[in-house]
Point group: C2
């Protein structure tokens, strides 16, 4: 009786545990589809085209912008990042919930285009906790960590525009909460074929 | 960081499995409070005052109406039914989610008073399935069953006014979905003390 999938947008600062939570979702729930972003930046390390990102030339990316083929996009320090629209629409039409891991500006842009999309903000309980995670990760310089913390401080001010806020105080609990949100959103009257239900009464 | 509880309203026709699902919620989740309705009808069988209902005189009930002490109320075939407001407010202020099992008219009245309350509609997948459950239950006459089916047909037309629709095709799955909805609603930005979170960043 269910017809379409939902658009689930997960945002949160670098170090919030977003990636790990998303991996957990795919272990716990069926009927999910992970959206792959497009970018003009160069691949790093083991990153693969079509798996981690669609790595595009600037010309390819600009032609997607011109053709309105991106759900959202941004230019970050000279590199373009964006979400190709067609794979998202195809998956939603097949009844899959699409998971988008994007930043706050992108999330709010998706919301303005698709008001029914579901915005989830994932964040550690405090700046001190976020700093500790970034430090323990050991991939960023002190300057980069400071920059990420300032960015988090800026992004969290938009949390009231989100549908849900998940405090990542514990990875297992946070993953369960995000699973619950996705399960709950599958129970929205709008995702059902209500006419067909009414006919059965 | 969480401050207030939510008002969770569960509606559904007699025979929808509402009572069994509610029992399941209390096994699965903490921090719940079941609202007890007041009524002027006589106790049946084993029903106890303060457990199944608050059994009141008509004078007591009318004085609660006059004093605006009911969250919602209705007169059904000469008997009054209603939800005492103060215990609900007290529980919500203590951070508990309050579960109200009430009919569609009552649910919509609560929504107009408390727009943030969460309306869940629980229903078997079809009229035939509902009829089978009512028949197997063996507590109602054929006439009563027909009356309940007609009532269900009328109530289900309001489902689009609900926040969530849970099809009770399987009791365990339906209970899990309602648990997920309650867990998700605990992640709404409005239930957090956002100022205190921002101060931690």
């Amino acid at each position: 009786m269910k017809t379409k999938g939902n658009l689930i947008v997960i945002s949160g600062p670098s170090g919030s545990g977003k990636g790990t939570v998303c991996q957990g979702l795919f272990r716990e729930l069926d009927n999910l589809h992970l959206s792959i972003s497009a970018t003009t930046r160069n691949p790093r390390g083991e990153e693969r085209h079509g798996v981690d990102y669609y790595f595009l030339t600037r010309e390819q990316f600009k032609s997607m912008i011109a053709g309105d083929q991106l759900l959202e996009w941004a230019n970050v320090y000279g590199n373009y990042y964006g979400t190709p629209q067609q794979p998202v629409i195809d998956a939603v039409n097949r009844g899959l919930d699409v998971i988008l891991e994007i930043d706050v500006q992108g999330a709010l842009n998706v919301k303005s285009k698709y008001p029914h999309c579901v915005l989830i903000f994932l964040i550690p309980p405090s700046r001190a906790e976020l700093e500790m995670r970034l430090t323990n990760r050991g991939t960023d310089s002190a300057g980069e960590i400071e920059h990420r913390l300032q960015w988090a401080e800026k992004e969290i001010k938009e949390v009231h525009k989100y549908d849900y806020l998940v405090i990542n105080d514990d990875l297992v609990a946070a993953t369960k909460r995000v699973c619950a949100i996705i399960t709950a959103e599958r129970c929205r009257p709008r995702v059902f074929d209500i006419d067909s239900l009414l006919q059965k009464y």
